[in-house]
Subunit: 338 residues, 2 copies
């Protein structure tokens, strides 16, 4: 009987230690779980990416970035887009998305003005909106994430200057009426003149964003200035057109060509040495950091404070330059769709 009481007493004591120990741990873990540490959302928190002309291969990188961020933050994402290059269709898609009150929307704007009213409607309804790739500066969107086109042109100039040893005449094939292409041309021109005084731009021609038009434009440059040592295309089809012109004239590999973007046609020419380098935009960054920005705007848990007081500043950078990478023969394989 005495022995039994001893066992009974020991058991009760162990039990109490257990309760105390696990109770204590639970408090700690419970507090942690409720979000004092780690950026984590709810799986029913739905963020939507809206693009114009949704079929384009170009969006692949941004979509992957958006998805990667969703996985990292434990939230859901969805992709919507206008099937055609049509502003009204993008507005309609956007209206449908807004009606479902998502946690946030990332938009690539078809042009700088058309979506302003619809974007403002979303923001006024309390839905965070950021723009990526192509912005809408007059809208109420909280942020824009995209390529610094002037800087991209500057990088093209440095690549050109380096490959030509700092001397020679070059030409630009561009779309002179579009803002982003103007900026690329200006960045190229300014940097060439400032950093490579031995070089000159002999011609700036309109390729109209078309391979054939660009090819003819490049031919006319070669006719007028046979000594031209290099070409910079501010747009993908421009680079392919230049490459075709050089191939026809038997000059492929004998002129330096700097292209833009990483469509299959451009990558093939990089692989073959017809285009020496092309500029890849930071599309993954656009998608990934768009979602991170939307997440912070949605949760509002991390609003800027000064000494504990919330002040009227948005907790995301209004502009992020998503960067440029130079693609050459040595890394071109990484850029093919697999």
């Amino acid at each position: 009987m005495k022995k039994l009481f001893l066992v009974y007493g020991l058991l009760a004591a162990t039990f109490m230690v257990y309760i105390w120990y696990y109770g204590y741990r639970d408090d700690k873990l419970g507090g942690w779980e409720e979000g004092t540490a780690g950026l984590v959302g709810e799986i029913d928190e739905n963020y939507v990416m809206v693009t114009f002309q949704s079929g384009l291969d170009y969006w692949r990188g941004s979509m992957k970035g958006f998805e990667d961020a969703a996985q990292a933050l434990n939230v859901s994402v969805e992709f919507r887009g206008a099937t055609q290059y049509d502003a009204n269709e993008e507005i309609t898609v956007l209206e449908q998305v807004i009606a479902r009150k998502p946690a946030g929307i990332a938009i690539s704007a078809i042009n700088p003005e058309a979506l302003n009213q619809t974007i403002n409607k979303a923001v006024n309804a309390g839905i965070p909106v950021v723009l990526f790739d192509s912005g809408a500066p007059e809208s109420k969107a909280y942020a824009f994430l995209g390529t610094d086109n002037y800087e991209a042109g500057a990088q093209a100039a440095r690549e050109m200057g380096r490959r030509l040893g700092g001397s020679g005449k070059v030409a630009v094939v561009t779309q002179p009426n579009q803002l982003n292409h103007q900026e690329r041309t200006h960045g190229f021109r300014d940097t060439l003149y400032k950093e490579f005084p031995g070089m000159a731009i002999v011609d700036v021609v309109d390729g109209k964003g078309d391979t054939l038009v660009s090819e003819k434009a490049a031919m006319s440059v070669l006719d007028k200035h046979p000594e031209v040592a290099g070409f910079f295309a501010t747009q993908a089809n421009g680079g392919v057109g230049i490459g075709q012109a050089l191939q026809m004239r038997g000059l492929a590999g004998k002129r330096v060509v700097i292209g833009f973007d990483t469509d299959k046609g451009t990558l093939d020419m990089v692989k073959d040495g017809v285009i020496n380098a092309t500029l890849a935009q930071g599309t993954w960054n656009m998608g990934y950091w768009s979602l991170l920005s939307l997440f912070h705007l949605h949760h509002q848990t991390t609003q800027p404070r000064t000494n504990g007081e919330t002040i009227g500043v948005h907790p995301v950078p209004p502009y992020s330059d998503t960067g440029i990478t130079v693609v050459t023969r040595s890394n071109v394989e990484d850029y093919y769709a697999k």
Copy 2:
């Protein structure tokens, strides 16, 4: 005796249920903790912020942002800095920080060149480095987060133009030899000329970043151009100097003054209506997004991929504009240190 055995049996059963239940919960929490969801680091992951002239009130916002991000991500942060405005001291501090191999370093560079070698040493040793507030463009740092000074000047111009109804003559008090101040002046000038054709800049004077020099410079502007309707100061002491000049001439509140930054002197004058508005830099954003960038560089878990293949792009935006907020009498209280 039978009764006692019943109690004993029940107790043992309850105990087993307890063990089973808590053991199960532990497994679940353990798996979640290991990071399948949520951006979360380790508490012994140490990120360091290094500033020049560490005592400045100006760093308060960036430090708070860095700390807030550390709490959100469950990592540790530390603040180091040169006690004086001395490039060699900042280099020494940086060398000491590098020697301890932290998870990442955020640096405000004393000037654009002095730290390049030391920054590159850290990056070559595998320590991620980003710059905030003041950059080092030629270094190997992965990103720069700071104010777009040209855009800040543009916002000052819009605030000025709006307050003066689009007409009148204005003057600028600046530091003409410093790049960030040149950019603020250019943004102000370009925007005023483009968006407010009824306005003109009659004088741009050197306040040397000093209150008294700025006061005298503002007086001389008032002597030469008594009709001047507004002043823009590209730096904090400039705004206070202009305010003092106006007070002495009995013109306080009768000229529009747009200041810069949110030191106590400037805020007091905003409160008193001597300075109409001042531009607060997004210092919290600089600190918060610096740590988020470093975290992503350190973990490398979210590198940009195209179809599952890792490519040679850094997973952070190379430049982020951390924004500007206009501080007026209506929100000035939020900006005082408490």
